[in-house]
Amino acid sequence: MERIHEFRLRMMSAPEFISDNIFGAILYKDSVERGAVDVLDKKCIRSIIKIDEGCEPDGTLKPFDIDGMIQYTLDHGCYGTKMRSVVKSESIMVPIVKQQMMYAEKIAAAGLVPIIEPEVPIDHPFKEKIESDLSIYLESRLTKFQGDCILKVTPPEKPGLYDYFTKLKNVKVVFLSGGYSTKEACKRLSRNSGVSASFSRALSEGLKYPQSDKEFNDLIDSNIRKIVLASG
């Protein structure tokens, strides 16, 4: 864990990892425990905590202490939370969104901004159909949502699928990279207006622990610039 924490700190220390480019960063609780919030605060970048404990085999969230994690997020001065579910089939989509929204309402009521992430796997054979159904159901739920939230979704097969949500005043749409290369993730992002990124794999593409600081910084700075260029 020491090495991966050091790796993340190197990413945060890169010249282009600044608030002009990075609105916020999603952290493991372990990173929070190791002082990452202070590092980000110094750069005026908001901290967001991954609060879930992973998924059940069907893609729904495993039980976790939502009240305790809300309090933990507040105690550490963080901006919001993230929960990731995996929409593995059409039949599990509604239970997943209901579960995410139930938690998101509690999080927003505490004054935090929840990131709800119902991820559709990029290689799912029925990806486009599930995405279409997901957007329709999310519309019925998010239209009534009280508070601000961030909707993190897989870059859709149909550009503009999430346009409706980009017009809502309390919802921000961001795309995950989900295994797409930086190039492919950015290409898909650029086809959708009003959407930003929340990339992990595409942000860290090419980075290796043994690289010199110059190699490491040049690579992540290049990735950051590509993502910024494709955003919006």
């Binding site: 993340r8 609105f23 960063a25 605060d41 507040l74 901004v113 990339f199 992990s200 043994p210």
Partner: protein
């Protein structure tokens, strides 16, 4: 030059409030109808999906 914040976790929220102008506007990111170039860095993966980053 970015001004450093206080280090004590217990005072982070208060410090952040006092220095709020140093942060970019959350409203601009969440609610702007104009293109927003900022993004969210997801640093909550183990490194595996990035292809053996610790090798």
């Amino acid at each position: 030059m970015i001004k450093l914040f206080g280090q004590k976790t217990s005072s982070v929220k208060q410090e952040r409030h006092m220095n709020d102008l140093k942060f970019t506007s959350a409203g601009d990111f969440l609610k702007s109808q104009e293109p927003v170039k900022q993004f969210i860095a997801a640093m909550d993966n183990s490194g595996g999906s990035a292809g053996g980053v610790l090798d």
